[in-house]
Symmetry: C2
Subunit: 402 residues, 2 copies
């Protein structure tokens, strides 16, 4: 059992719809443990430690903490700051000065590396620090965990968004445009794949899903789209921002798709714009697109209740692990076997996680590389926390022509 | 009282989150009136009449009709088809052949012109047709009505979207990017203005709102953004897709912002991309943006309950008016005076509506032309059907530095 000391918690990287749930899980748990004295928040992640910008989370009202469980953004502020080797000693100096022996950091790959490095420096200097990572990423690309908090809510938003926008497109009929949606995830296609959760039958959107894990040529995109459009009279496509050509060239930066603005500056064409241009060039069909961008990680009205609860619990588990003596580890989600969805919380070594990227395994991607398998759906379905709204179509019994 | 005859209903133009509520309002009302025999739906709007593509709405199940009240898209299919003068006589021929004497058309400006023209042709040919328009547009630009069904739900989505995305941006702190959101409405800024419903205090997003009704120069945008960014350490901007420079040139098509792709084709730069480039050029600050595009008119999970009920009622009122003997008119919303929000349904002459466009009046736009007035908020607030979720911020009591 560790000595009574102060705890500090921070948030890092891109916010999610549930990152505050993890923060409040940490705070609520910390407030219940007598081993913890001060409950500090660092402002803007690790920069708040370097700058000694700490706030007293014990003084926040219970109502504020409760309401933050349904507030997007990172309530403590976030940061994208590359910690330098010299920083680590400075960080530890601050921890020593403030008697901070519990360090909880909520973040993704880079943040997990920060936690790992700090834990190593503390060990080297003989300071009894318990540094624990709490997973967070809509990209779902953290290793050593079944999934990460933030993904389920983003997945629910993406599935709803493509379903709604797909019904809109279906209304347009046989002469209507192709619909594209650009979805976040530069190297891992988990969130793009989650668009498939919108689909009840092959007629439903999305009809095609392009992931960074599989290279796809412009010709192949065009022929895929044409086949769907002929068969169903409309076509809705989920496009990852990270898709690459068969030679690995990202669509976002292919030389042939770089444009020049009026000042002569090269401007990278957006991915979905490039795909729209390919479809127009090769098929002569207009494509329209949605780029919901930051809505994917902030749309709190569509947060998954499962994700919210798990994010909170991950924060709690992190504190318990720290006070229990762990360090250099991350709270990890292990799925229990069986038909009923259930998660068990364990700890995974950060040395196995830091700077790793978990991409979608082959078993979750269809043979054509333009969609997902049943196994992916079974993996992802429970995470969005319940079915999407029950939409309807008219039966359309024809009236005999006169 | 008109003779027993068939009714046909159609949907036209861009779908909304509640256009099916108007359809079902029409159907439910028609099923109750003995003056109405067949209840037909035309597929893909007026094209369905020209092609005699009718479906029997009496044969749809009650469950389907009920569920369509929360289904996006236009259940009968929609169309953007410019009706020619010769078409009108053909349309009337079809109505005569099918004994259709009640014509209900759910749509925007162009569709209201179609209804008007058909009513005139019927009158000229002495056919007892009751042609009634049911208003529908997320743009809220129909004349002779307080507002139009579809707007309230789109407004709720836009306000929620910019609020969520704004909280996300606020997390990034003083070195963070500017956030832009491109909002639909080419000539009228009602929906962009509705972003203001997200704001509880001047610190809250959105901080700036640019509407098509007021020209704004790139320099002015840059100085507005800089002032907000300095004051609040973040800046969230609602940008209409239809904004124009002070000389009236649309940002979407200004020569200086047209780009050339690798094939030498001219490509129009998106509006929000143009604004992002201006901010980077003039202030050296990155801007990120969301383009929720078609989500604005289809996001059924955020449909306004007030809008849903009013859309349904507008359909009912349209049928009652037609059976009551009216023609060449549109169901119009009149706001009752008083503190409590209430609407009275009247009929307005389509000759006063067809091809008109109602832009935002001066009293609703602030003196600086970069935001809205209290009067606009009071106008729009009831339409979104209740408050947005109750978000929170930490009080952030500082810990004394050591």
């Amino acid at each position: 059992m560790a000595a009574r000391a102060n705890l500090v918690v921070g948030q890092s990287g891109g916010p999610t719809a549930v990152i505050n749930n993890s923060l409040i899980g940490v705070v609520h748990q910390a407030l219940q443990l007598e081993q913890i004295d001060g409950v500090y928040g660092m402002l803007h992640g690790i920069r708040g430690v370097l700058d000694q910008e700490f706030v007293d989370l014990r003084r926040e009202s219970a109502q504020t903490l409760e309401r933050l469980c349904a507030t997007p953004g990172s309530a403590l502020g976030t940061v994208r700051y590359k910690v330098s080797p010299e920083d680590y000693d400075r960080l530890l100096d601050v921890f020593v000065k403030y008697d901070i022996r519990y360090f909880l950091y909520i973040g993704g790959n880079d943040s997990m590396d920060t936690v790992y490095q700090i834990s190593q420096v503390a060990k080297r200097r003989g300071f009894d620090l318990h540094a624990i990572g709490v997973p967070k990423t809509i990209d779902n690309d953290l290793a050593q965990t079944d999934h990460s908090p933030g993904f389920g809510s983003a997945a629910r938003f993406v599935a709803s968004a493509i379903r709604n926008s797909g019904y809109d497109t279906e209304s347009m009929g046989p002469d209507g445009p192709i619909k594209l949606m650009e979805i976040m995830g530069r190297n891992a296609g988990w969130l793009t794949a989650a668009a498939a959760l919108a689909q009840d039958s092959a007629y439903d959107p999305p009809h095609l899903i392009y992931l960074p894990e599989r290279g796809v040529s412009p010709d192949r995109i065009a022929s895929d789209v044409e086949a769907v459009y002929r068969k169903y009279s409309y076509c809705v496509v989920a496009v990852s921002e990270g898709i690459v050509d068969v030679d690995g060239t990202p669509y976002a930066s292919a030389a042939g798709r770089t444009m020049v603005d009026a000042f002569g500056h090269e401007v990278k064409q957006g991915v979905v714009e490039a795909v729209a241009e390919i479809i127009l060039d090769k098929l002569g069909i207009r494509a329209r697109f949605d780029k919901p961008s930051y809505l994917q990680r902030s749309f709190v009205e569509l947060a998954s209740p499962v994700d919210q609860a798990e994010a909170y619990r991950a924060g709690q588990e992190g504190v318990r692990a720290a006070v229990g003596g762990a360090s250099g580890q991350m709270v990890s989600f292990v799925r229990e076997p069986g038909d009923e969805y259930a998660i068990r919380y364990e700890l995974a070594d950060l040395s196995q996680i830091a700077n790793q990227e978990k991409v979608i395994p082959d078993a979750y991607i269809n043979a054509e590389g333009n969609g997902v398998t049943r196994a992916f759906i079974e993996y992802a379905r429970p995470l969005i926390g319940g079915p999407l709204p029950d939409l309807a179509r008219l039966a359309k019994h024809p009236i005999a022509k006169r």
